[in-house]
């Protein structure tokens, strides 16, 4: 998976305007080449080790596990990566590919700002121009990340069209790309978009699961019983799941942004409550109205505030290999505080959704069972949001 034309079952594909068809084909061919190129892969591995700081630890959260009284919880510490989240794995990969293809300008979309920061970081290191599109509402919500991007030399463009969030930033990045396609490389931050992006981003993120498997075998001597990861577009989840897809004893759980609760309609959970449709270059589950218009999403976490999801997740849901659930804003916040106080780790609000469901799941399991939760990012960027919710002025 996917097939030659980028289909995961009925999902995925290449639904873009004609102008982008040949550039996407050029990208696919370039990626196919570097995938089997030893020099490129050695450079990628080198950068992950010495620049990102991999392997990231797999940490047994003993105190929290004991408190919950169920399964043993291990946290995959992507929050300890350079720039503070798993996003950098992918931007290193795509940045190297951009350089290989001779592109001099990088563009990216961002929601919470983590992918924007990771893209700006790579652009700074490679000496490339970088423009990041960000919904105007998110620019407000994630001010520290906006400033980080500017410090790194990127231009941050606030997007005021539509709902002023991640989906609109993606529209605007596509419009830039179609205009400047000759010199510009579009670094998509998640496992969505037209082929080859979903497969390519997955491959760059699959390091997460490969490491986790090796680490759990060393630490516990056996495979885990379950994996849990949050799902916005779904890149950290696919990254963790991919190497375990063939291990049928390992259950896979993706946790979407439940907002005020899936039953209220105010959420960001297309796999839990959406329908298949076409947006941003791929067929997948979407949040849409009866006329096929995309509707606004609601999540406390800017990184999960997206009406679509990667096509491979849509396929994993339909074939039953993975289970998709939602955690509400409240549940995520409670988990955020619990892990911060019990383990001394401040998680990102996105990852807190995975922690919330992981805790629920652990309680239904036995102490000799194992869950790995992907701690995809650190929560420093979210402290303003947390303070605002609690009525504290910093």
């Amino acid at each position: 998976m996917p097939d030659e034309r980028g289909h995961f079952g009925i999902y995925g594909g290449k639904f873009v305007a004609e102008t982008l068809m040949q550039p996407l084909e050029d990208l696919r061919q370039a990626y196919e080449k570097v995938k089997h190129d030893k020099t490129f892969q050695a450079q990628f591995d080198h950068d992950l080790a010495h620049y990102v700081g991999r392997p990231s630890p797999l940490y047994h959260a003993e105190r929290w596990s004991k408190q919950l009284g169920g399964a043993q919880i291990y946290l995959k510490r992507e929050d300890l990566n350079h720039t503070g989240a798993h996003k950098i794995n992918n931007t290193i990969g795509q940045g190297l590919l951009a350089r290989y293809m001779g592109k001099t300008r990088i563009i990216a979309e961002t929601g919470a700002g983590q992918h924007g920061v990771a893209s700006a970081t790579v652009a700074a290191r490679f000496g490339m121009e970088c423009v990041v599109y960000m919904g105007a509402d998110d620019v407000q919500r994630q001010a520290p990340n906006v400033f980080r991007m500017k410090l790194l030399g990127a231009t941050v463009v606030p997007v005021t069209s539509g709902s002023k969030t991640l989906k609109d930033a993606l529209n605007e990045a596509m419009r830039d790309w179609v205009t400047n396609v000759d010199n510009t490389f579009y670094i998509i931050g998640t496992v969505a978009g037209p082929h080859p992006y979903p497969a390519m981003v997955r491959d760059f993120q699959a390091i997460i699961g490969r490491e986790a498997k090796r680490q759990i075998m060393q630490q516990a001597g056996r495979l885990p019983d379950a994996l849990v990861a949050c799902v916005g577009g779904g890149s950290n989840a696919i990254g963790l799941f991919h190497d375990f897809l063939g291990d049928e004893s390992v259950k896979l759980y993706g946790v979407e942004g439940g907002g005020d609760g899936v039953e209220t309609g105010r959420h960001a959970a297309p796999l839990s409550a959406g329908k298949p449709g076409v947006l941003h270059g791929n067929r997948t589950y979407l949040m849409e109205d009866v006329n096929g218009q995309i509707i606004e999403t609601h999540s406390i976490s800017a990184g999960l505030d997206y009406p679509g999801v990667g096509p491979e997740h849509a396929w994993l849901k339909d074939c039953g290999r993975a289970t998709y659930v939602a955690a509400t804003d409240k549940e995520a916040l409670a988990a955020f505080h619990e892990v911060t106080r019990t383990e001394g780790i401040i998680p990102a609000l996105e990852s807190s959704h995975a922690l919330a469901y992981g805790a629920k799941l652990a309680k239904t399991m036995k102490p000799d069972q194992i869950i790995i939760i992907n701690l995809s990012g650190r929560g420093d960027k979210d402290i303003n949001t947390i303070a605002r919710i609690e009525g504290i002025t910093l």
Binding site: K14, T179, L279
Partner: protein, 268 residues
């Protein structure tokens, strides 16, 4: 023969090129659209391109994005747009109508249901911006079953191989996107359009329309010298926006632009 084929063959007999204005259906208000369509025909339009509003119009510049937002404030749906076409057809059975939009509203309605409803309403052709031929075979089958034309786009980045493949799948006409960019972008490079249209003609026999970047009588005249059809979108929609409060002013302003284009094109 389809309305589009009939229209292109009639124009050819009279050595004229087609003028195709674009408006977004329901912009600025659903009551304005049908009247404006009739007025544009009187001002010299040969074919009408009607935009189906979509929440995420990825290929549009700011002018048409805002038109979508104005129409969506009135919840204008694909079914509503078909209703407008049906009303238009009561008094104009000859002018071909092409719908232009994005795939998701069509997906939600279902390809077969859409094709049948579009044909019954009096639609002649369909452009789906985010549906390239590689993904479009299923929709083409349904449209063909109702004698509807699927109009595919060609772009400056299209290779000769793609031109041939798309020419073989398209019917009605092919729509050459004259520049790399979004609708309403900066001025176009006429010589590069001439070169590309000539290349397209070596790969397909169906009529070639050119759009993106045509904003006035002069650019319409230059493009009509090489293309079979001149498509003008953002320049029209901008006039709709500038006069949004008054349907008569919208019509007068749009028709003034179209008349000047018509006159300039007929001098070629």
């Amino acid at each position: 023969m389809s309305r589009l084929a009939t229209r292109f063959s009639d124009l050819k007999k009279h050595h004229r090129k087609a003028l195709i204005p674009f408006i977004t259906a329901g912009d600025p208000h659903p009551d304005v659209t049908v009247g404006l369509m009739h007025d544009m025909v009187k001002a010299g339009a040969d074919i009408l391109e009607l935009g189906v509003p979509f929440s995420d119009p990825m290929a549009e510049g700011p002018v048409i994005q805002l038109a979508c937002e104005r129409a969506l404030k009135h919840n204008v749906s694909l079914r509503d747009v078909l209703g407008m076409v049906k009303t238009f057809r009561k008094t104009d059975a000859a002018t071909p109508i092409v719908l232009m939009g994005y795939l998701n509203p069509v997906e939600v309605m279902g390809y077969r249901v859409f094709a049948k409803a579009a044909a019954e309403a009096g639609v002649d052709g369909v452009i789906v911006v985010d549906l390239p031929p590689e993904e479009g075979a299923d929709l083409v089958v349904e449209l063909k079953a109702h004698q509807l034309d699927m109009i595919f786009l060609l772009a400056p980045t299209s290779t000769p191989e793609r031109m041939a493949m798309i020419g073989a799948m398209a019917s009605g006409f092919v729509y050459y996107v004259s520049l790399k960019g979004v609708t309403g972008a900066a001025s176009l490079d006429v010589q590069s359009v001439v070169d590309k249209v000539n290349q397209i003609r070596q790969n397909t026999k169906i009529p070639v329309g050119v759009g993106f970047g045509i904003r006035d009588a002069d650019s319409a005249r230059k493009i009509s010298a090489v293309a079979d059809a001149v498509i003008v979108g953002s320049a029209v929609v901008q006039r709709v926006a500038d006069n949004a409060g008054d349907a008569r002013k919208i019509s007068a302003s749009v028709c003034e632009l179209l008349s000047s284009m018509r006159t300039a094109m007929d001098k070629v």
